[in-house]
Symmetry: C2
Subunit: 189 residues, 2 copies
DNA sequence: GTCTATAAGAAGATAGAC
DNA sequence: GTCTATCTTCTTATAGAC
């Protein structure tokens, strides 16, 4: 990796964290620059505009999601275990979900209010998870794979949102238990 | 109502709409002033700061919610009908929910990222609905009233969020159907 | 109560020195 | 590649005329 690529990676990772924690609109170029100890002029050398930087952050997140889903596919032999692993992720990420919300849901919501074009780009993250969930559900119930995956995502997002709003992991735990029970009922039919 | 109160009401209603449609951070005082054809200097006479204006908007919304819940209480004789009316609201508001998301959920999410104090204030809106839902559920299942009301709100928020993210009312319709079925199962137990 | 004028600061983006 | 300096625009907020 060249020196320039290294610098870019550092910027993207810092921007990723700050955008998640503070939101996109309330994170300035200076914030990101300060976080890694460079000047904002430097940042604007690597990324012409703030939108370019956001796009890089979204691509970074996409790669991480892809890695994760491929890993789960290898590690868990059955669709049921994979679906439960997805739910388990929510429980595992409890602390950050309560503090900052879902990285996909909160970013998409924010961009939708004022930057419809960027919102469309951040949609690919959801597509990524949904396609994977659908694949798993189809091996259980081929006809309803799409609607089952959507239902799961809907409930996961609802749980993450309420836990964030009330700053309380209870919302996550309670709903995830019920989601797991629901998965069991789908498997046995 | 005095001339001053009338002016304030116009401002709050315009701010309410714009904050819902564009988000709080991306709505400026000038935006609100332009929307009702006055200058921003005028707005700052009625509301010292942008935060003051937001607080007035939240109070305005709270009153509307209270009116609505009282109305439902009078119009629908049973808790089951009232719960279904709550779900029906989501279907009725489909167009604006898809375009702008849930007014409570989106505002709270945005404020949570950067203004924790204001987020706490906007929480009262959720408390309002949740207390009402809990009251209805308690007449059906006294022991689990709280958790049932939370579950309903979680799923409603998930549906609204996904419909907004994908700009597609399908997410709302599908989930609301399932929520209604779930209410039926709770009633019959 | 409503307006204009203006301050004071923050933000995104550009140009040029090193 | 990184920095400083600067430009421009936008935003909140204040002061004072009408």
């Amino acid at each position: 990796m060249s020196k320039g690529e290294q610098a870019q990676k550092r910027i993207v990772e810092a921007a990723n964290a700050l955008i998640y924690q503070q939101g996109y609109n309330t994170t300035s170029i200076s914030d990101v620059a300060n976080a890694i100890g460079v000047t904002k002029g430097n940042l604007q050398y690597h990324f012409r505009s703030k939108e370019d930087l956001l796009e890089a952050v979204i691509n970074f997140r996409l790669k991480e999601i892809d890695k994760q889903l491929q890993h789960w596919e290898l590690e868990y032999p059955t669709p049921t275990l994979r679906l439960k692993r997805f739910v388990q992720m929510i429980v595992n990420e409890e602390v950050s979900l309560v503090r900052f919300g879902c990285p996909m849901g909160s970013l998409n919501m924010e961009l939708g209010k004022s930057q419809k074009l960027l919102q469309a780009k951040s949609l690919v993250m959801f597509n990524c998870y949904l396609a994977w969930l659908e694949k798993q559900f189809r091996t259980i119930d081929n006809r309803n794979g799409k609607s089952l995956s959507r239902h799961l995502m809907t409930r996961a997002q609802g749980a993450a949102l309420m836990a964030y709003i009330y700053q309380d992991p209870k919302w996550l735990k309670d709903e995830c238990k019920q989601i797991n029970s629901w998965i069991d009922t789908q498997v046995s039919t």
